[in-house]
């Protein structure tokens, strides 16, 4: 579903020194997989995730989404893919605090240009209900606990029925009990909803939820 071939990301610091966040990384993620990208901080795993999540473009190398090379597609088409194809879950939750829970969850549908085969409001309410967040739908995110905020973020990620969920340290800001609850939720989405999940983490006991672990160190996949 997503394939990276010899992907490098360089940051030119000055004329003599170039920093390589990624060095000729190649990997393939297949549909319905649950993959962990594991490595210490500064290893390039976030850069890798931003490239897989189409938020960033590599300096060299090729990225394929459903066998289509994306380096030449327009910014609008990338936005469309992020909107319809990927769902993001972040360590910092990244909810917009001035919007209510329901508005946050429905936000991706606002940016969708195509005709939806579902009613955004109904879908948002139904997922929130599944996650036990129904009565919080008109609250503001900063009034919720970390675990609740992360579940709202997952609801938002699911809104557009994505094929891929990208979770960047989703448990990093949570206590270990809540962290495991969130992992179980992602595991369930992978198993039952057949959604591909790519997890970025530095914690071994979180990474093991995945069926496959990709190790990364100093910008290189080991």
């Amino acid at each position: 579903m997503i394939k990276l071939v010899n992907v490098s990301k360089e940051y030119i610091i000055d004329s003599e020194y170039t920093f390589y966040a990624l060095k000729k990384a190649s990997l393939e993620i297949k549909e319905k997989e649950f993959v962990s990208i594991m490595g210490p901080s500064g290893s390039g795993k976030s850069t890798l995730m931003h490239i897989v999540g189409l938020l960033d473009k590599p300096t060299t190398g090729k990225v394929y989404v459903d066998n289509k090379e994306i380096s030449r597609i327009s910014d609008d088409d990338l936005s469309k893919l992020r909107n319809e194809f990927v769902g993001f879950v972040f360590q910092q939750f990244n909810l917009i605090n001035k919007l209510t829970v329901l508005e946050n969850v429905m936000l991706p549908s606002i940016y969708c240009r195509k005709e939806l085969d579902f009613d955004p409001n109904d879908r948002a309410e139904s997922i929130l209900n599944d996650f036990g967040l129904s009565e919080k739908r008109n609250s503001y995110p900063n009034k919720l606990s970390g675990g609740q905020q992360q579940r709202v973020a997952i609801t938002r990620a699911l809104m557009m029925k994505p094929k891929l969920i990208l979770a960047d340290e989703p448990t990093g800001n949570l206590d270990s009990k809540t962290g495991h609850e969130i992992m179980m939720l992602l595991e369930k989405l992978n198993k039952e909803e057949k959604i591909t999940v790519v997890l970025v983490t530095h914690e071994k006991d979180i990474a093991v939820y995945a069926k496959r672990i990709i190790n990364i160190k100093d910008g290189e996949i080991i």
Binding site: L55, D56, S79, R82, E84, F88, L107, Y111
Partner: protein, 401 residues
């Protein structure tokens, strides 16, 4: 569409959370729109005031004044007396011209006036019975002097309402009473209806006395007139009569010795001067709109920096550059429109407040202009910060702490 509604709704939500900042930001536009709209309203009022003054004279009159008054449609100076004044023969010439139905000569006298309550200097206008008609003067009590008063050189006088009030206490008190003008006793036969005002190039008729010009020859042995007014049968004949008068007068006078003025001509000359002045004032006021626009741009740049993370989140979940652009642009337009609407509101209240003193008014063009300009300012000054927001790299914004 759903996008647009959402954008505007969240912008309004944002403003209601930052009421003070929103108000202060739109204050520049508010003041600018207020100043522009009020000045335009005053300009319109002035135009209306001038045209009302001339309207009273009627479109079927002509004025003859000594010297050159208008040349090439523009006002070149005050009444010149290089050629002296008109005399009785000029008056008789005018009476013989076709389609002239009335002629009113005008002579002034400033002298001592003695009434019941007061003795002071005052001004008398000596003219014919046609004068009240040409000048749009109405008599409130009694009557204006007539043709027979003129031919009999009757010592009758019509007084302005202010004169009646000052010298006799009231209109009723003045009628039929004697008034002494430069030691000659006159009988008051009428009091004019108050016209108010004065100033602005017109006479304050309320403070004048009016008497037959024939009687006035007592004080004016040369029988000279300062001005001759002509009433034409109807306005279609005005230009023909003007030509005829010119032809007749050139037999006795040189071209530069007299001018024939149509009230409408004079009005458009005066109006054009005031229009230019008004335009300059409006242009100066418009500078504050520019300053207001810069204020909005400044705040929008701050807003963009404050919300980099939010921009990142929106980009990550699929917002396009154009979505971000329109979001910030909408906020800028809304900010300046709030200023525009408030400015218009305050301008309306101010115009309402002065309405009794001055016929200023806000026309539809001003409303459209105020709202159009304020949203145009929002767009033109908001587009730079909005473009900055839209062009931020998604990955930079999502990483931003």
């Amino acid at each position: 569409m759903k996008n647009l509604i959402f954008i505007f709704r969240s912008a309004i939500d944002d403003f209601s959370r930052n009421k003070l900042r929103t108000f202060l930001t739109s204050l520049g536009i508010l003041i600018g729109v207020f100043a522009v709209v009020v000045l335009i309203a005053l300009g319109l009022g002035l135009k209306k005031y001038i045209s009302d003054q001339f309207e009273a004279m009627g479109k079927n009159s002509l004025f003859l004044v000594p010297g050159r008054v208008l040349s090439g449609g523009s006002f070149t100076g005050g009444v010149s007396s290089i050629a002296g004044r008109f005399d009785d023969r000029d008056l008789q010439t005018l009476k013989k011209i076709n389609n002239v139905i009335g002629v009113a000569p005008l002579a002034f006298k400033s002298t001592k006036i003695k009434g019941l309550l007061k003795e002071d200097f005052g001004d008398i206008m000596f003219s014919s019975e046609t004068f009240s008609d040409i000048m749009g003067l109405e008599v409130d009590r009694g009557r204006f002097f007539d043709k027979s008063d003129v031919s009999k050189k009757a010592k009758v006088v019509v007084v302005g309402s202010k004169i009646a009030e000052d010298y006799y206490g009231s209109d009723e008190g003045a009628i039929g009473k004697k008034i002494t003008i430069d030691d000659v006793k006159f009988t008051i036969i009428g009091v004019t209806k108050s016209k108010g005002g004065g100033g602005m190039g017109g006479f304050d008729y309320d403070s004048y006395l009016f008497a037959p010009y024939t009687t006035g020859f007592i004080f004016n042995p040369d029988k000279k007139f300062f001005r001759l007014s002509v009433k034409v049968e109807n306005e279609n004949y005005v230009s023909q009569v003007k030509e005829d008068i010119k032809k007749e007068f050139l037999k006795r006078h040189k071209d530069e010795e007299f001018s024939i003025v149509e009230p409408t001509e004079l009005m458009s000359a005066i109006t054009s001067i005031f229009s230019v002045l008004n335009l300059i004032l409006v242009a100066i006021a418009a500078i504050s709109l520019l300053v207001g626009g810069i204020g909005i741009m400044n705040i929008m740049y701050v807003t963009v920096s404050d919300r980099i993370k939010e921009i990142g989140i929106r980009r990550a979940i699929g917002a396009r550059k154009s979505d971000i652009l329109s979001q910030f642009l909408a906020e800028a337009v809304l900010l300046s429109s709030i200023g525009g609407i408030l400015g218009l509101g305050f301008a309306y209240l101010s115009v309402l407040a002065v309405h009794n003193l001055f016929p200023a008014y806000i026309d539809l063009t001003s409303v459209v202009l105020a709202l159009g300009i304020s949203s145009a300012i929002g767009i033109s000054f908001g587009v730079f910060p909005a473009r900055k927001a839209a062009n931020l790299e998604p990955v930079e914004t999502i990483r931003y702490e």
